[in-house]
């Protein structure tokens, strides 16, 4: 844990030393809520029926979708991106020869972008509260668990992408495809019940579907923990299966990289 915190701290200090950029990113996230607010108010009369199980406020519905998509993007891309940039700079070689086990190094390298996305997500949701969205804050601990499961499920895909980076020097279109597919089928801007039947059958494989539905019902629709237990269980199952596959793929890629010499240069 100390090693993860040390890596997180180092990356945090490096990233926030660009003060103007840090400030501008927070401001731009807050500013991005404004057009969403007006768009949501315009669309709300049409969308209200389809989102009724997940609250009646379409602006709140969309804001939670956007916040989740921030987390999803970083959870999927953080590991391959950190791996790629650290191999390129030579830092990965220095980290690999320390006494810290590799999985801890990987988590430590990915921790900052995920943490940053969580902060961005929190900023968006707090901005929405300022605009009048009613959120059940008592359910936040349960939502934290859901978010962690969402991160785990997508970190698994990140591990597979990182394995591709180690073997082929690029993860190709995997991350883009996963993020776009999740946004399309997971219900970021609309309820999954509103999409055609054959697409709905695909959405059952998307972790975001369960995470968003459970989060919205808890925060916006006064649902109880029992009401969302099915979604949370399914999300946990996808995370466990995904992490097992991801760990196997990454382990195999590491062994290949140690043989082929692709571990220390791209």
């Amino acid at each position: 844990m100390r090693s993860i915190l040390a890596l997180l701290r180092a990356t945090w200090i490096s990233a926030t030393s660009y003060r103007i950029a840090t400030l501008l990113s927070v401001v731009s996230i807050l500013a991005s809520i404004v057009p969403v607010f007006f768009m949501a108010k315009a669309v709300e009369p049409i969308a209200r029926a389809s989102i009724s199980l997940e609250g009646s406020d379409y602006f709140g519905f969309v804001v939670i979708g956007i916040a989740a998509s921030y987390v999803l993007l970083s959870a999927t891309g953080a590991i391959p991106s950190a791996l790629s940039s650290n191999i390129g700079s030579g830092t990965f070689e220095a980290l690999m020869v320390t006494r810290t086990p590799l999985p801890v190094v990987i988590i430590g390298l990915a921790a900052y972008p995920v943490m940053q996305s969580l902060i961005n997500a929190a900023v968006v949701v707090m901005g929405a509260v300022v605009f009048g969205v009613r959120i059940d804050f008592l359910m936040l601990p349960a939502v934290v668990v859901i978010v962690l499961l969402l991160i785990a499920a997508h970190a698994a895909i990140g591990l597979i992408a990182a394995a591709l980076v180690l073997v082929f020097r690029t993860s190709g279109p995997l991350i883009t495809a996963v993020v776009a597919g999740s946004n399309l089928l997971g219900g970021v801007f609309y309820s999954t019940s509103a999409i055609p039947g054959w697409l709905q059958s695909l959405s059952v494989l998307i972790p975001l579907t369960y995470a968003l539905r459970a989060t919205r019902r808890l925060l916006l629709a006064d649902a109880s923990l029992a009401d969302v237990s099915g979604d949370v269980a399914m999300l946990a199952l996808l995370a466990v299966i995904g992490l097992a596959i991801g760990a196997l793929a990454f382990g195999a890629a590491m062994r290949h990289a140690r043989r082929a010499g692709t571990l220390t240069h791209l």
């Binding site: 490096s14 830092t91 220095a94 020869v97 006494r99 190094v105 010499g261 220390t264």
Partner: protein, 333 residues
Amino acid sequence: MVTVDGITKRFRRPRTWRESVRAPFAAPRVTAVDRVSFAVAEGEVFGLLGQNGAGKTTLFKMLTTLLHPDDGTATIAGHDVRDEGAAVRRLVAPVIANERSLYWRLSARENLRLFSSLQGLHGAAARTEEDRVLGVTGLTDSGAKMVRDYSTGMRQRLLIARALLARPRVLLLDEPTRSLDPISARDFRRFLRETIVEAEGCTVLLATHDADEVWDLCDRVGILERGRLLTVEATALLRHRSGGDRHRIWLRPDDVARVASTGLVLQPRGPSIEEGWATFECVIPGGATGAAAALTRIAAADVPVARFERAEPSLADLIERAVAATPQGDRDA
């Protein structure tokens, strides 16, 4: 301390599109390290001399567990680099000569804090160790400065400080003075000899293509060429054998004929720094006695000599001689 026995590493050679189409299942390979064997004793400074692409860096990566050998074994204090990676990493620290591997927007102390944590050091023990390595590398006063504001030489020292954090028993240095100016390089060599080897008691493996580094630092040296270890010799012996008979002499150009009459065959080596003197090289057998006799003959011929010294062999000379001394069959095997 370090034993390398028949270690070999081959890499897949990148192929052109045409080659891939003609033979889609072929997997041509290049041999980066070819059946290399040597042993390094505790506290020894062992040099690996070779041109770019000789296999020095690949060999180091295998010793640090970053690469797995295809054949052969290597052990550090009895621990196999392939099967006991964690144990090896507790003993070996490579000085990664890449400045970009530092966190440039962190101070030197913050960089060390990160790596001390990754090496399992925490709290007061970590602070003490950070202070120690900053002191050892002469960076105590600039520890709070951001790495981006460091000079290249300071970053080089910080890379070494980082490697020393875990008190390694074996330090691997890959061309450590590559980006240093001559004065910084000389200071660094002194620091390595006096502080790292004599005070810290590290065993050092030094990969270089700088002959000066070998003469100044190494107890023994191995010459690598195209992945093969051609020879391993004590540095003093290698120096004597490869450069012992060649001398440089600084004379007035008009005196060349008179020196030639003493039996010395002079070869011009370009103008001297000092005005009016020219530099020549000649072969004088017999070591110091032979050189003294030759100098006596020159003096007897009433020839003024500005300077006289034994010529140090260059890296190219050493490799050429090592290649020439290796039987053809051994080189091609």
